[in-house]
Amino acid sequence: MTGSFAQVFFLAFFGAAAVWFGIVVFRTHSMVRSAIALLFSQTAVGVMFLLMQAEFLGVLQIMMMATEMSVMAIFMVMFMMDPGGMGAMEMTHQKRLSLWAGGIGLVGALAVIWLAEWGPVALSVPAAADQTADLGRELLGRSMFIFQSAGLTILTAMVAATMVAIAPDEERRQ
């Protein structure tokens, strides 16, 4: 099936792209480049969503990630010692352990993926408009409670973050 072939190809391409950019995040010394790399990685993920005909989610991902990564870039510049990465300082610790952990995680997941019986493939996907409408109905119907609590959680988190971030008055005056 050519459609599936195309899908396979592009999926592989953008998947690899996501992975590669993810690696770049941690290999580069420049902070801004890390942030940009992460941006690209997330964007690739969003494209993958689009490829998998989850259009709403894909658009959402790209938009969100773009914004988030920008913010992150700013923060990076704020907090990093060497945002430009001109200094060649080793910024990692427990490297071997991390490598092993990453490796094990990768291998384990791959083992599951490759060895599991995933069952028959579903071929027909609802149209995007239908998807979104169903999603909306789902949100405001069955999963209303979940999203209400999620919304509350987000609000709480925002308030908390703001509280944490804002310094007390006497410290600000100093």
């Binding site: 991390s98 997941a109 791959l110």
Partner: protein, 103 residues
Amino acid sequence: MIPELIIALSAGAAMFGVGLYGALSQTNLVMIIMGVELILAAALVNLVAFWRYLHPGEPAGQMFVLIVMAVMAVEMAVGFGIAIARFRSRGSVEMEEARELKG
């Protein structure tokens, strides 16, 4: 065995591994958050793949993705708030120096 599913899942697995490596190996808090972002992205990929290739009729799959995205956003917000506070008090967000929670 659908190639698309396998590929998507494999990509997700690889992203997960890289993200894990990063979360564990980075000294800076922001880098750690980036690693966690990667892990979450991998999870999202998995979710969408499963939805698309195994249960496309279920809107619950997409809803789950929305939840994860919300979690990502919240986590970043709170994380950066903490980073600011820490930076303000210590002057850096290097995790090597953060031993306050030592038991």
